[in-house]
Symmetry: C2
Subunit: 376 residues, 2 copies
């Protein structure tokens, strides 16, 4: 039986990122059983006919080895470095028939994905105005200075400004690509990407060497949205790809924010429409962003409106799960799921929400209530 | 016993605009009984001690007469010209300890207050930027062209731009002042105000001759808000008086709208804060405004979400009037009003709503159903 990491690697190369059939089969059978089934020519749900050609070319051990020699690591769910926030993609409503938790992420750079503090996705259009890139740079720099990591897509315009702002603010920044992490797309960003790989992290679902493609950008956007605690759209014309990232963020119930601009600017139209429709909250300052994405209450700015409790605003499901988390000795999530009488996926998602509010703590042995959380 | 119009005139001079005690006593006793009581030295609820000096100087008949000779009319509740929309001020939550329906309004100009079509209040700060005044002018002009009246306060900056835009769009516009309608405040707006008095209406709760005062601006703002079906704040720094008008509008449950601007502009800060807090809807185009303030559903813009019928969303009154519009030969509005058994003002307003939906057509000979409107 194949090692799970290798199975995930091979499976990730069989379909395109965001392939719902493979994500579904992985959830159902587990990566190892699925891969082994495919290898032995069994064809769960008819997926093999599509991927047979790719299956022959899959050499997961060799690929892992080659990547490692180039300083590229393969991070999968269950690894200590795996960012818990990606779990929300499980079972989230598909967009353009894509979705699901990535099978794994290729990572290049010293920044560990499990150690991103209050990461914020900052996205926007490539054909940004000076106003927009100024705003993106300043916002990213301010967030970086307060310790937040900045996630973006390394494209021209807003993305580039966000990464540069984060670097200027001496902060952590992550570029999620729609091609292999060893490739520079756009080519003009070779230096930026090398710099990010030296000081931050360059991430992709796609194996080294893979080329960027339209659908890969759309799938990539869900990773940007899921890595951020919230997504800020700085400038976007109507129908900009940045709005796709915003859709992903709202699908996984993360705050979507928009920076307004002159109504005369076409590159603010998409943002204004989003705010107007209630799809985004208007933000003008880093404090506005932190108020929405920060751990509950930790960044409350302006006048707080009275003492808030960490339990305020919990969803019904989160309360239910919180009741099932032990006070003393940690319990694994499946044991908590049994106690709560809920499904494992729902419980994990709720636990992550509770973790962000500092109501529970997570250790290798499992979950327990945070100190004081039983009184709060 | 004093005539009610005269009683209201005298009472309006006893207290300041928005005096809640007088508004309360008027609601309780009626203007005539209250005034006669005060005249005969009785002192309901101790109000007399404050107003005795002013009572001696009240000469309502003389004032009415003098004003009339200068082309200034005194319009009170119950008059045909009284704008029904002011009734919402009755019992609305006070702001700065002011409120209530005005005892009456002094009006200078040919525009009748009961015939304002879909009036929109456009307000903002005096120290506006070119961006702001451009937006106010364009918005007012576009609204004027669609037939909406524009209400504002004749101040420097946004107010002025709104009035000028409405005039440029050949539309109706009303200036509500915090001093007598015969005075020019600011003095530099003498010409503008004279022009408004020739082509629109200049309105005040304060008798001719009265000077502007801080609290009078605050009370005046409720009249601006109540005359408009909605209030648009174009530019406002934090703590701008325009936000006071917005508060009044939301107190009487009228839509509050805000035009965004560059986040680097201090004069957009108040607007952004209002939108961010949910106190205003972001608007960028006249269509956005009309969608919110237009007769129920009459201005729905953007992509209709499936086949819509022109009759969908008509108000009860509009349906009633539509039934009375002839299919073939046009009829004048008064004949339609007789057929519908409704007042002329209400019928005209409904006809304008129907016109905007292309359900009726208008010609010099009157109104008829639009082609196909009987089948739709």
């Amino acid at each position: 039986m194949t090692d799970e990491r290798l199975a995930r690697l091979a499976l990730s190369q069989l379909g395109e990122p965001g392939d719902l059939r493979i994500a579904g089969l992985v959830a159902e059978l587990g990566p190892t059983r699925l891969y082994d089934a495919l290898l032995s020519d069994r064809d769960p749900r008819g997926v093999l006919t599509d991927v047979a050609a790719r299956l022959e070319r899959a050499h997961p051990e060799r690929d892992l080895d080659r990547a490692a020699r180039r300083g590229i690591r393969w991070v999968v769910p269950g690894d200590p470095e795996w960012p818990a926030s990606l779990a929300d993609l499980e079972g989230c409503e598909p967009l353009h028939e894509m979705g699901g938790v990535p099978l794994g992420l290729w990572v290049r750079g010293p920044l560990r994905l499990d150690q991103l503090v209050d990461p914020v996705a900052i996205v926007g259009c490539r054909s940004a105005t000076t106003y927009g890139t100024d705003q993106a740079t300043e916002l990213a720099a301010s967030l970086a200075r307060t310790g937040s990591a900045v996630v973006s897509g390394a494209a021209f315009g807003i993305d580039q400004a966000a990464h540069r702002g984060a670097l200027a603010g001496d902060g952590a920044t992550v570029a999620v690509l729609a091609c292999g992490v060893d490739r520079a797309y756009p080519a003009a960003h070779q230096q930026l990407l090398d710099h990010l790989a030296d000081h931050g992290a360059v991430v992709s679902e796609l194996a080294p060497g893979c080329a960027p493609m339209r659908t890969r950008f759309l799938a990539r956007n869900r990773v940007i949205a899921a890595l951020g605690r919230g997504t800020v759209v700085v400038e976007a014309a109507r129908r900009s790809g940045a709005l796709n990232t915003a859709s992903w963020a709202s699908r996984i119930h993360r705050p979507v924010m928009g920076v307004p601009g002159p109504v005369t600017s076409a590159t603010s139209e998409g943002v204004h429409a989003l705010i107007r429709s209630g799809g985004a909250t208007l933000v003008t300052r880093p404090e506005d962003v932190l108020e929405l994405v920060g751990a509950m209450g930790s960044h409350l700015v302006d006048e707080p409106r009275g003492p808030t409790r960490r339990r305020d605003g919990l969803s019904h499901r989160q309360r239910q799960v919180l009741e099932a988390v032990p006070v003393g000795s940690p319990a694994p999530s499946d044991s908590i799921a049994r106690t709560a009488g809920m499904g494992l996926v729902a419980v994990r998602s709720a636990l992550n929400g509770l973790l962000r509010r500092d109501l529970v703590v997570h250790s290798p042995r499992g979950w327990r209530l945070a100190d004081g959380a039983d009184r709060d």
